[in-house]
Point group: C2
């Protein structure tokens, strides 16, 4: 699905469904982080008009999602606080090459894979959560994550050939799959 | 005007009016930077709901302005490229204190002073530029910069008392005035 090399293991849903408050707090931070990643890409490739327009849209949508999650958190009376991120993002960013244009491609594809994984997990939460309000909320975010994934992969093709991008996406997706398989002890959106 | 301690010296307009292409390129980067500053504040004070909502609006407006400037640059057939920023922002950020909550107040007030100076200079460009298209463009941005200034000063009052904020704003505005008086060799929006 969406270039992902392996599906989310069944244990993830078990891990998070007893910690929905924590999942929501982590999710709000993930949306903030996703806006930050798009802003950083806009800064790095500011001469590239198509990229800056796409990043502007993603920044706006991710910040909008951040506020949507915050509203649910507030409505449920959950205290929102700073939370250390899962190791998932940092592990993926270690794979980013230093040299341009490979660096641009890797940064875009890593961002695209994170969107793909979020999309897949939002689908799981939509289909399987007993908490129907949250299930519907995650269903409502599904489409935009899939669209962001496609945007990132399309933009990567401005920096290297389609074949090179496809090949690198497969490599990174395999690495992403291994990170997901390894998992994390703390229940998080990307644990 | 808008807490500014001293008006822009007459030499600035002389410095930039012969370099409008460069001014536009620098201006686009300033709008990008302003969006980045608002995003950084959102990250630093993410638990603060009012601040995150205000920063989201500012991020969106500054990115919108960035694209408006880019459109003018493209229409005029000017090549857009990365440009080293003027020393103005860096000099102001040196004044930011390390300890919270003074740090939050300083970051907000410095951002507010930059908006005030931009607002003042947009007014000058509106009133004095012979290039009427640009004069009108700068006139159209005037109001949002003034509004952003007020937003930043208002938010600072969530971190320290009104009196403390007023006093610190006067100190920082005086320092900003000295930086502007000193000036810079390269023609820039904040030279």
């Amino acid at each position: 699905m969406l270039s992902l090399h392996m599906p989310t293991p069944e244990r993830w849903l078990k891990q998070v469904e007893d910690h929905l408050d924590l999942l929501l707090i982590d999710h709000a931070h993930c949306e903030k982080k996703a806006a930050g990643v798009a802003m950083n890409l806009l800064f790095s490739y500011v001469e590239h008009a198509e990229l800056t327009r796409a990043m502007t849209e993603i920044v706006q949508e991710e910040l909008d999602h951040f506020h949507q999650v915050r509203a649910i958190i507030d409505r449920r009376g959950i205290r929102f606080y700073k939370l250390s991120p899962s190791a998932y993002g940092a592990k993926l960013h270690e794979l980013v090459q230093k040299q341009e244009p490979q660096r641009a491609v890797d940064r875009l594809l890593v961002a695209g894979l994170i969107e793909a994984r979020s999309c897949e997990r939002f689908g799981l939460l939509r289909d399987r959560l007993a908490d129907r309000e949250l299930a519907e909320f995650y269903g409502s975010l599904f489409e935009s994550e899939a669209r962001h994934h496609s945007t990132y992969v399309r933009l990567a093709k401005n920096f290297l050939s389609e074949d090179a991008v496809r090949e690198r996406l497969a490599e990174l997706a395999e690495a992403e799959g291994r990170i997901i398989e390894f998992g994390e002890q703390q229940p998080r959106m990307h644990s």
